[in-house]
Subunit: 129 residues, 2 copies
């Protein structure tokens, strides 16, 4: 697969794909004799993983470390797992923050819709609390 095809498939710009490879967020992609990138299915799986993690806000740094360890082989097993566990925890915390903000937005929108009785209006002014 060419970079343009992969770019369309995953909706990541060719620039971004090259950037991800350059910094090691995905392992380096094989080339044709003339030096043009030729993405394999395995490359695509790495890209999909990267896209999923990045869209969730997992830092590039952690993913780069993971990929580097992965390429070093079996004896990095524990370290790799630890990265995943750490990032899972970060993600859980972030989801909780977002849920709190979502609850708050729902509350505020309800006020705007007069769905919630304005019992403690003194704190609200549609709506800081």
């Amino acid at each position: 697969m060419t970079i343009a095809e992969v770019s369309r498939k995953y909706e990541l710009s060719a620039d971004t794909l090259r950037y991800y490879e350059r910094i090691g967020l995905i392992p380096s992609v094989g080339r044709t004799e003339s030096g043009i990138r030729n993405y394999t299915d395995a490359d695509c799986q790495w890209i999909e993983l990267a896209k999923c993690m990045r869209s969730a806000g997992v830092q590039i740094d952690a993913l780069v470390r993971y990929v580097a360890l992965f390429q070093q082989g079996e004896d990095t097993f524990d370290e790799r797992k630890q990265i995943l566990v750490d990032q899972r925890e970060r993600l859980r915390e972030h989801i909780a923050d977002m849920q709190a903000a979502l609850d708050r937005l729902n509350h505020k929108i309800a006020r705007y819709e007069n769905v919630v009785e304005p019992v403690e209006n003194d704190l609200c002014h549609i709506c800081k609390k």
Copy 2:
């Protein structure tokens, strides 16, 4: 309340508090005769709101627009509500992305723990899929 007290209370640096005020993410704070910020409870509510929304990744831009409209008064009601509704939608999408990444991390960690039977190992290599 001084900026140092507010900074401690909300765990935001004094620089960040001044920055938020400067860009209009919170309405401007009153000063003492000598020009020092004196935060009221209402100011603190704005800060808490800003902190909550920012920690969930709501863009500063949207919050600035909301605050500006809020200060313009009643006839911006609909526009303000629309901002909230839009941001709620963005937040929901983002939570879905994060949930997908979390599911994937859980799956990968389970592989690392040999909890999941390695049935389709050819795609996994602990673990791209």
